[in-house]
Amino acid sequence: MLQLAFDIGGTFTDFALSDTDTGVLAVWKVLTSPDAPAAAVIDSLSERIGIGAFVPSAIAGVLHATTIATNAILERKGSRTALITTSGFRDVLIIGRQKRHDTTNLHIDKPAPLIERADIFEVTERVAPDGSVVTAFDANHAREVAMRLSDADYRSIAVAFLHAYANPSHERQMGEILAALMPDCAVTLSSELSPRFREYERTSTAVANAYVKPIVASYIAALQTALGELSIRPELAMMQSNGGLMSASQAREAPIRCVESGPAAGVLMAARVGAAEGLSHIMSFDMGGTTTKLGAIDDGVPVVTPTFEVDAVNYRPGSGLPLNITAIELLEIGAGGGSLARTRMGMVSVGPDSAGADPGPICYGRGGDTATITDANLVLGYLNPDYFNGGAMRLSAEAAAEGLIRDVAAPLGLSLHQAAWGIHSVANANMERAMRVVSIERGRDPRRYALVAFGGAGPLHAARLARALGIPRVIIPSGAGVGSALGLLSAEHKVDAGLTHVLRLEENARATIAAIFAEMEARVPDGVGALSRAASMHHVGQGFEIRVELPDDVTDIPAMREAFFARYRQEYGYVDRDTPIEVTDWAVVATIGAAPTSLLALPSREGTGRSGSTRPAYFPEAGGMVETPVFDRSNMKPSTAIHGPLLIEEPECTTLAAPGDSVTATLHGNLIIDIGAAR
């Protein structure tokens, strides 16, 4: 059957069309229409249908990733939202966790909350940590509050009571009152969305969900209608942050689960490419114009974390709004092609601010006036000024050189090429440090991993990044420039359910554990396929958990203990068998419906016809500016190795291999770079 996937990003909207049996049929990209994201999608699809590229009624699945929820939060353009909370705790959301993300800056401000203090209302009720009721839910008080909210024209309401994870009955009663008195208003209950402890994080999640709920609902409805008018009728399947798909109707209830869905799709693509090449340990490296996303895949499975932070300041942990959503482990850093380069204290500094798409790097000639990584890459000869974005844009190397001399070379007393090389190297070093966080710091030995590199700039930086980290092999997937859209085709329909129930992992816990899983599995819809079960555990007394995949028999306590010890040793190097283990959070993940497209290789494309050409490019390993072979990716045939230094061009990106590296094309259409011995 035919599947259509599209990923709406900040600059480009990427499309992929596939047949689930035979593989990818086409990929393409158009500029995003930021004010009405659906417009560019519909325009492009109409055009394709018009020229007979595909028959709309033949499409059986539509897969979608979007930044609409993320942007509504980042730009504070969500709906008018109120929060109802336990009497006495109005300020939990405003207070937050209170640590400065920058110790020596006392002039910082906390991230602006999504709602004001005036939007927060209290209702008399109280539950204890064990779920017992301390103060009964005051229905009269609740109705009074609901009447006030109704008069004040709120469009969406979050309800977050203290300890609601332990007993949701008061939140449910509040929900019923709101449904009766404000039938048109969207309602989010913290105990349904995220029944987990730590009140600030749970409340923050509920409020963020409420804040984007009406917007996402109307966006999905409009998109679905417009697709229907094109005779594309399947219900949209939306990408979640955790790499699973959910139905549009589920996304309307829990839109916050769609934050960062595009980058998550990229990690899925990396996993799929690794699997095709017979590799199960993958680091993914997605470098675009503004940011770089790093992920990890262990044993073929993308790592999923139990929490996520949105709107962080300069990617500093603790500076954003925490969300209790499962999310594919991603580290996003402020280094992309558009990152600005400057000098500071006699050194080169790159990013985290970016020239973005507008005005863009100097070499775009669209008003950018500060040197960027892309400008440095152009000066170094890595980019072809006449074949950027498949020739759709022409770059000015002269303007880039001028800017580099002014901004970096002159102030530091370096030559033009030294300065450009410095920017390229510092960008690599920034990414190397971030990659260390994802790899070494989290117990992954880079020597056991392959790096899957994609995004507009990823294939250019990957070989050197791999070498610095000791990663022996890089894979540049087929269609690297539209990696996230391809990733959507790799996704499965997933539903997860989770809850907090603090329990010591001891023999007498068997019955309780069985009951916990029975309850969660009852929340998963019928007709699901494979179920996987996980628990977040720590030693009694610790405050952070490790998520451990559980054996099929969830009442096998010794096996669960051993699974925890194995993960703990991997993370921290030590095991403490004397201190009891406690589970805090429990989860089931269910897979539903059809299997995704199995093959991601692109059909053969028209070549550039320039294989065999050369151009000067900077390889200090080879003595500086050297005449470098340039290959056309569409002409690359499997099994013959070619040796760096070299450049390989395709419409959406350029691949670089350094001296000592060798490149082979595989039967699946991917490029494999074997990294030569370290310097």
Binding site: T104, I108, F544
Partner: protein
Amino acid sequence: MSIDPITLTVIWGSLNSITEEMGSALRRTAFSEAVREGQDFSTGLFDASGRLIAQGNFTPGHLGAMPYAVQNVLAYVPPQHLGPGDMLATNDAALGGGHYPDMFLVAPVFTEATVIGYVVTTAHHVDVGGLSPGSQAVQGVTEAFQEGIRVLPVKLVHAGEFDPDLLRVILGNVRLPDKMRGDLMAQRNANHVGGERLRQLFASYGAEAMADAIDVIIERSEERARELIGRLPEGTYSFEDHLDDYGPDTPPIRVAVDVTLKDGEATVDFSRSSDQVPAALNCYMNYTRAYASFAIRVFAGIDLPNNAGIERVIRAIARDGCFFNATWPAPCGGRAAVQVRIFEAINGALAQADPSRAMAAFSHWGNPNIGGIDRSGRPWIMYDLLLGGYGGRADRDGAEALSPVMNCANVPVEVHETNNPVRVHRLEMITDSAGAGQFRGGAGLRKDIELLCDDATLSLLGERHKFQPYGLFGGKAGVPARTVLRRDGMESELASKQVTRLRRGDVVSFRLSGAGGYGDPCRRDPQQVRRDIRNGYISASAARDLYGCE
């Protein structure tokens, strides 16, 4: 020095990231609420000669004391007596972080037989014994011997393993041995992680390049710090304020500072302050210096990770026996109450040098410990951090509810109630508490806690009950703090540093002061006043009185 700019950039970035990685390992494996939730710990890297080269984004009191703690520890156990995997510990107030709960763990890092540097962690351990739960009681403690176990520098970890005898001695003297043991193991994890990464860095670049890079980093940091301090007008600036007291029915403590800026260097002198006091509030020099140095760095905008180069241009002094340079065996468990005031005194003085960089006084903060034995015979301690608002600034209001000066997170209500026999009745910002101004201060914070077991000991560590947080340049002072005990329907006021017994059903209501305002309230934008009324930060009647609008 021949090191190229690129290598230098990469090495410096890596050194700083090592300290962050250490922090992550420590926090994620710690056991006490103070460390794992409150993040009351710090990490650092030193070169082979004991010079500070990098520190993580943690709390300034630890960070500032660390260079001296390392020197002191190595004076007791010189490097030639150390091998790979060894770690030295001390919690001495004078040698280390200014009170016994702060335990330093210093580990040499070796390549083969050579020490290439040191990795260091400090963590606030929730109890080290002594008079009352939490080891921070002020009232009733007149000498350091009442404050718990004192560990002069010892080799606590031998080749990666804790010395079982020493550990038994230490844990035998504290109220929550499991938490302390767990946090010490977390510190060892962090040192292990830091040591591995430093070794890798040396292996990548070689000892020579590393030594060059470290010299340049320290040199450039010093230059940059001199340049930034040099941008402030030279002169001597003085400021005076008072701490409430050092327990019920005791006199105020004078906090007097003279800050001299000259030739790009800053000298902070607290000698005109009161003498040390017979209660556990005194500051040893390491502690005073840590926050004095921090205050200068913040005020001058020294935007670099701290290292020995920056330390060179900032000098903190106080006469011997002064409250800010206490002499052994002065008790000091509650000195954390003073750190905000060290910063504020310097800020108040330097406000005269550059009003645009100054901020009015904080809400201050509260650090109460409630502890006892619960019904099942289990000892418990609720270590709490009450964090209020910032003072108004030259261009905007003070931040609401943010960690002042020191840098910790709060402990969630749901965590406290799960682990301790307490119920929190309210946690909210206090209407009409903020100091008025063109840019107002942040609000005070109120938290009401009920005891659910038979009895417990409450050690209060508050401030600003008597002396309000100051306003600047026409801004008003914040409303003073109160601590109210409600028992059997009757309310009574507690002193800011009182130690008292609680009974089942007692409710202690902590009410932090409001932060000070900046600039004449009459110049406040009426829109902002209306917004504050709508959000309940001020009442309509107070708005009329303070700002002359509706």
